[in-house]
């Protein structure tokens, strides 16, 4: 007889706990539609990209090892990339190497983008057909990966970086990896 009262209350409590957990995660800024990267804990994919025409030497996976760094997938046609650009500039200024993968962009547009907003990238590779971005499992633009000094992928951020993400996640992780 008492079971009749206890069971619904327990069911409700379980449901409330599950929903409450997700609500808290969302409240903390988690986007539940973001797909976790399959590359976390694995070496960055091997690639070798040419430069944006007449702009540096390009980018290959060998460039990533040595020091904790960021790999940023961007394009001039992508408005959120423009929005996060000042934060990349700040990070670069504080000594973080940022490597750019310029995704499906026209060379002239990419160069105009960098000329207008500044170039925070240590090196940039031009991924004209998007094949290298696919190796990285990229599906939303921009995306930013944190790579440790051994060239292992530690973190992936989908979408534009916000000051919040940089302060709460990216910088602490870089500091920890630099130890």
């Amino acid at each position: 007889m008492r079971l009749r009262f206890v069971v619904p209350i327990l069911l409700f409590a379980a449901l409330a706990a599950v929903l409450g957990f997700y609500l808290r995660e969302i409240g903390r800024g988690k986007d539940v539609s973001v797909v976790p990267s399959a590359l976390i804990g694995k070496p960055a994919p091997a690639f070798n990209l040419p430069p944006i025409e007449g702009n540096g030497t390009g980018l290959s996976s060998a460039d990533l090892a040595g020091k904790p760094s960021l790999v940023n997938v961007f394009a001039s046609w992508c408005p959120p990339c423009r929005a996060e650009h000042p934060l990349l500039a700040q990070l670069a200024q504080s000594g973080v190497p940022i490597y750019g993968i310029n995704f499906k962009d026209k060379p002239a547009d990419a160069k105009a983008f960098l000329a207008e907003l500044g170039d925070p990238y240590a090196k940039i590779g031009a991924d004209r057909d998007g094949r290298v971005a696919l190796e990285w499992g990229v599906y939303g633009y921009p995306e930013t990966f944190v790579i440790d000094r051994a060239g292992i992928v530690r973190y992936r951020h989908v979408g534009p970086l916000m000051a919040y993400d940089v302060e709460r996640t990216i910088r602490p992780l870089l500091a920890q990896l630099a130890k």
């Binding site: 797909v35 990267s37 399959a38 696919l134």
Partner: protein, 150 residues
């Protein structure tokens, strides 16, 4: 007449395809395998469409990669593995059965079975408790209440 024409048109109509003619492989057997695989892979941009259905840029790139792998001699499993190694299990529209997904697979049948058991218990309890007949006192009270309402 109009109805007949409409019915006929609906009969011959096929589902719209996102696949562009230039993407097709020349070998029909390989192409059929590629289509089957594409129907099982999620487009991460639209998330509830397969890459076979989706017009998104990423879906087209993934369709191309699947065809590339099959043309290179990969088995279906190897071609799917190539995509999941880069995009994770989430690209599979049918998730694999493993530690992280057992609740997903077993949850719905468990709830169904629990509901069935609760229903059986309810039926049994109802059958086990026969109604007790009214006492003489209660009968008189019912009669007087019915009289009052006339």
């Amino acid at each position: 007449m109009k109805r007949a024409v409409l019915a006929l048109l609906l009969l011959v109509a096929t589902q719209a395809q996102a696949l562009e003619p230039s993407e097709r492989l020349a070998d029909p057997a390989l192409e059929a395998r590629a289509r089957d695989i594409s129907r099982e892979l999620r487009c991460l941009v639209c998330q509830n469409q397969s890459i076979d259905d989706s017009n998104a840029d990423l879906a087209r790139d993934l369709r191309r990669v699947v065809r590339e792998r099959l043309s290179a001699g990969d088995s279906d499993q190897a071609a799917i593995g190539y995509v999941t190694a880069r995009y994770g299990d989430f690209v599979l529209l049918t998730p694999p059965f493993k530690a992280a997904t057992w609740a997903l697979w077993l949850g719905p049948p468990a709830v169904l079975i629990a509901g069935f058991i609760a229903w059986l218990m309810f039926l049994r309890r109802r059958g086990a408790a026969p109604e007790t007949p009214l006492s003489d006192e209660e009968r008189r009270r019912v009669a007087s209440l019915l009289d009052q309402s006339k």
